[in-house]
């Protein structure tokens, strides 16, 4: 391991004639950002990128919901043609999954926070980190091309044989996914090496913040699962260009084999999406309850358990495909094993509030919303994991509702909570808490209104990916669309609140919330090299010596007597 520790130093940013030197102001000019090796700047660039992708995906989502206001049984009178609708839902899924949600927490927040939480200067491979960012940009370009070209309409899952014969730009899209996959792999690789080799002395594994446990588990999945997606996309492209025949029934191939290949990655992928979000919630719940996380070790272990078990259950996306009975039964059994660690986490988070001192601010409210929404999402997974009920519910709106609850009600809400929580650290500005709380409320209500009706649509038999539907479903669809409008509004309020703070927000102290992890020991925003020497490592959830100073609005470390 690394060299003996240096003494504790609290670096004060140098103040020269009113201009502060932090990572944002350290150097200026386009190239200083475009060629930066500073993980914080890379994190910020990612943030801008993924939020743009989210906005695009959100516009596409609104198009879906608006189109589904009517049953569209006469296609020529509908707002979108069937083909256009298919393109919209395909791009919505692909943009959201590959450009937004998979990179979101690790790339935007993880990149920024990981080295600081470790008290180190940067990640293990800063150039690789920048490379990951440019791979994301390249992947985004491929997708934008697919968007504006003849129109990808295969669904984000690219099932064969349709994706072989479809006339859209499938090869461009699959190559985009391939490139984005490498962005993800290299980020994961970087994080694993950083956490393994660059922890400060004194930070044993069980003294790491839980956010780092979460990111570490996620990185394991990224490294192991994403290459399989890569080869799958490559083989699909080869199928289209060379007609290799592996997935094409006309050439004696097996279309269901594609599903196995695809879901072998894409199921662990959903754990890439949720584990970092769970890590954020662990941080938010403990800091804003000013109390250590309940059951730290169980949360750490369950993160790794979810990561590993997640590799064994991909077949539950294919229960109706005609697999052998033994296969389906084994996948169903394994699927239920993954539910237990997640349940344990939920109980632990709620337990964290017990006898704490709970600050009901924006990040905390988003965290509480997460618990509510993720629990629903997780419980509805039980219906889908049980084989007989899945026979009815598979490929209906029930599944759509389920995954939006976990991915959006889960990951997105946690991401927003994390964004608000670390916003002062990243930007040096405080946002308007009341506006933030309002956004959380609107998002919460709007989200439930959008997706709760979809469970009922599913059980009543409404299939997925339908541009038109039976008249009996119209009321539920309209409820859902109204909810979506509300949800969009709430998200807009959240975005505006954050943007407003950049121009009009108060200066943020180094520790506005009273956290005990290392990132709260440097200034807001942090200086260019985080810490001039390694900070002292304590218990990340020991709040006993952190005290609020009402004059500065800052939590300071009380000197121990």
């Amino acid at each position: 391991m690394s060299v003996v520790t240096k003494p504790v130093t609290m670096p004060a940013p140098s103040v020269e004639a009113g201009k502060e030197d932090n990572y944002l102001t350290h150097t200026s000019g386009f190239l200083s950002w475009a060629l930066t090796l500073d993980h914080k700047r890379i994190g910020v660039m990612y943030l801008v990128g993924i939020m743009s992708a989210f906005a695009l995906g959100g516009v596409l989502a609104m198009m879906i919901r608006l189109h589904l206001w009517n049953p569209n049984l006469v296609p020529s009178e509908a707002w979108l043609t069937n083909k256009q609708y298919n393109q919209v839902f395909t791009l919505h899924g692909a943009v959201m999954v590959f450009l937004f949600i998979i990179p979101s927490v690790p790339a935007a927040l993880g990149n920024f926070l990981l080295p600081i939480m470790l008290g180190s200067k940067d990640v293990a491979f800063p150039r690789l980190n920048l490379g990951s960012f440019y791979l994301w940009i390249a992947g985004a370009c491929f997708f934008l091309f697919s968007l504006f070209a003849t129109g990808l309409d295969t669904g984000w899952t690219f099932y064969t044989p349709y994706s072989i014969e479809s006339q859209g730009p499938v090869v461009a899209a699959t190559m985009g996914v391939f490139v984005l996959g490498f962005s993800s792999i290299f980020t994961g690789l970087n994080f694993i090496v950083t956490i393994n080799t660059m922890r400060p002395p004194g930070m044993t594994w069980f003294r790491m913040p839980l956010f780092l446990w979460a990111v570490y588990s996620t990185s394991i999945i990224q490294v192991l699962a994403t290459p399989v997606l890569g080869i799958t996309m490559l083989l699909l492209a080869a199928e289209r260009i060379l007609g290799i025949g592996i997935f094409d029934a006309k050439l004696n191939g097996d279309p269901v084999a594609f599903q196995h290949f695809f879901w072998f990655y894409s199921h662990p992928a959903v754990y890439i999406m949720i584990l970092p979000a769970m890590g954020i919630i662990s941080e938010l719940m403990s800091v804003h309850s000013h109390k250590g996380i309940f059951g730290y070790r169980m949360i750490a272990y369950s993160s790794v358990a979810i990561a590993l078990f997640g590799f064994l259950v991909w077949g539950h996306h294919m229960f109706t495909s005609g697999m052998a009975d033994v296969t389906t039964i084994v996948f169903s059994a394994l699927t239920f094993t993954v539910s237990i660690p997640s349940a344990i986490k939920v109980f632990n988070w709620v337990g964290t509030m017990y006898k704490g001192t709970v600050s009901l601010n924006t990040p905390m409210l988003y965290a509480l919303a997460f618990i509510f929404l993720f629990t629903i999402g997780g419980l509805t997974g039980l219906f889908l994991g049980a084989l007989s009920t899945d026979m009815h519910l598979h490929d209906t709106y029930f599944v759509v509702a389920h995954f939006h609850y976990v991915m959006m009600g889960g990951t997105l809400v946690a991401f927003l909570g994390g964004l608000f929580h670390w916003w002062p650290k990243m930007t040096g500005k405080m946002f308007n808490d009341f506006a933030g709380i309002v956004s959380a409320a609107i998002v919460f209500v709007g989200f439930n209104l959008t997706f709760l009706p979809q469970f009922v649509l599913g059980t009543r038999g409404m299939p997925r990916r339908y541009a038109s539907y039976a008249v009996e479903f119209v009321d539920l669809h309209r409820l859902s669309t109204i909810g979506a409008l509300m949800l969009g509004t709430g998200l807009l309020v959240a975005g505006l609140t954050l943007l407003h703070s950049l121009f009009f927000g108060k200066k943020a102290p180094s520790n506005p919330w009273g956290g005990a992890t290392l990132e709260w020991q440097c200034s807001s925003p942090p200086p260019h090299d985080n810490f001039s020497s390694a900070p002292a490592v304590g218990d990340p959830y020991d709040f006993s010596d952190v005290e609020y100073d009402s004059k500065t609005g800052n939590y300071v470390k009380r000197s121990k007597t």
């Binding site: 279309p255 309940f294 509030m353 007989s388 009543r460 006993s544």
Partner: protein, 327 residues
């Protein structure tokens, strides 16, 4: 085809009518899981809200940040859910195996899915675009796709199975209620996926026999026979005819006969017997202008007899004066 799907009678808030022997087990398991979920969800939310209020930060209050463990509690809330999910898994598996075990004496229907139509072939050779079954009798579907993935879904029966090209998938059920039910395609298959629907008719014994007897008769009149083929050979999924059929991606038959066809490559050809016959056997030979990027029509070479093509031609000819679809 414009689906005139009228509402299934919703017997419960969640589900359509229970119309097969499977429905009871599935609905029961669903209800149980629902209650279990509620039983866990409500305490979690109540605890959350209670803690939010009781332990909120306020002047004069300071929490005691030592409560970090409770081994008994942690073990309980790990073990109890484990037992519960094992039970759920078991119940689901039992129900599933019941659905998988093909009974010995079934009425077999051969199901063919092709973009964007269903075709059902009965034991006496009759073909029909709608599914007809007998109440109280086990029906087995032998399903195969001719092109891409589809999925066979009858919500009222609670059955679903993917329909895959290059292999056969099986599904069986026993209807318990007479009536008409929806059948949806539920695996995305391209442009008209959401229009790939049909109806399931559950008859009593007499009604079923009557259906079989009538279905096998191809209409004598050549135009009627053409229409009969139009419905069964997947033309309906892409071409508009009379007042029925899909309004895309293929061109409409209405009012086409006799008028010149502008070609994608330039020039014109008359819409006559030759054009129809060639386009059925070799669709890419003379593509109509404006349809270059539409989903390619598959060739019917080797699948339609000469006299069947004549019948279809006669049917299209009869639509000379039909209204084109509203654009």
């Amino acid at each position: 085809m414009m689906p005139s799907l009228f509402a299934d009678i919703n017997k419960s808030f969640w589900f359509p009518e229970q119309a097969s022997t499977f429905a009871t087990q599935i609905d029961f398991l669903y209800d149980v899981i629902l209650w279990i979920s509620i039983l866990f969800f409500i305490p979690i939310v109540v605890a959350m809200v209670y803690f939010m209020i009781k332990y909120r930060e306020r002047p004069g209050y300071r929490g005691s940040p030592e409560a970090l463990h409770n081994t008994t509690l942690e073990i309980t809330w790990s073990v109890v859910p484990t037992f519960i999910v094992v039970w759920i898994f078991w119940e689901g598996t039992v129900g599933y195996l019941n659905m998988q075990r093909l009974p010995p004496d079934t009425e077999d229907v051969k199901v063919t899915a092709k973009k964007w139509n269903w075709n059902f072939k009965y034991k006496n050779g009759a073909e029909n675009p709608e599914l007809h079954v007998e109440i109280g009798k086990d029906a087995k579907m032998i399903m195969r796709s001719e092109d891409v993935l589809h999925s066979f879904f009858i919500p009222a029966f609670r059955v679903k199975r993917d329909v895959v090209p290059g292999r056969y998938n099986y599904l069986w059920f026993q209807p318990t209620v007479e009536g008409t039910f929806d059948l949806f395609c539920t695996e995305y298959c391209g442009d008209n996926h959401s229009l790939m629907n049909t109806k399931v008719f559950v008859h009593d014994k007499a009604g079923y026999e009557k259906f079989l007897a009538e279905a096998i008769k191809e209409p004598d009149d050549i135009v009627e026979r053409g229409k009969w083929l139009y419905e069964r050979k997947a033309c309906k999924g892409c071409h508009y005819a009379g007042k029925e059929g899909s309004q895309g991606p293929g061109p409409s038959y209405n009012g086409s006969w006799g008028k010149p066809v502008p070609l994608a490559v330039g020039g014109e050809v008359p819409f006559d017997e030759n054009y129809v016959s060639e386009s059925i056997l070799n669709p890419i030979a003379k593509v109509r202008k404006g349809y270059e990027t539409a989903a390619a029509m598959p060739s019917y070479k080797g699948q339609l007899k000469e006299e069947q093509i004549e019948a279809i031609t006669a049917y299209i000819k009869s639509l000379q004066s039909a209204e084109p679809p509203k654009k």
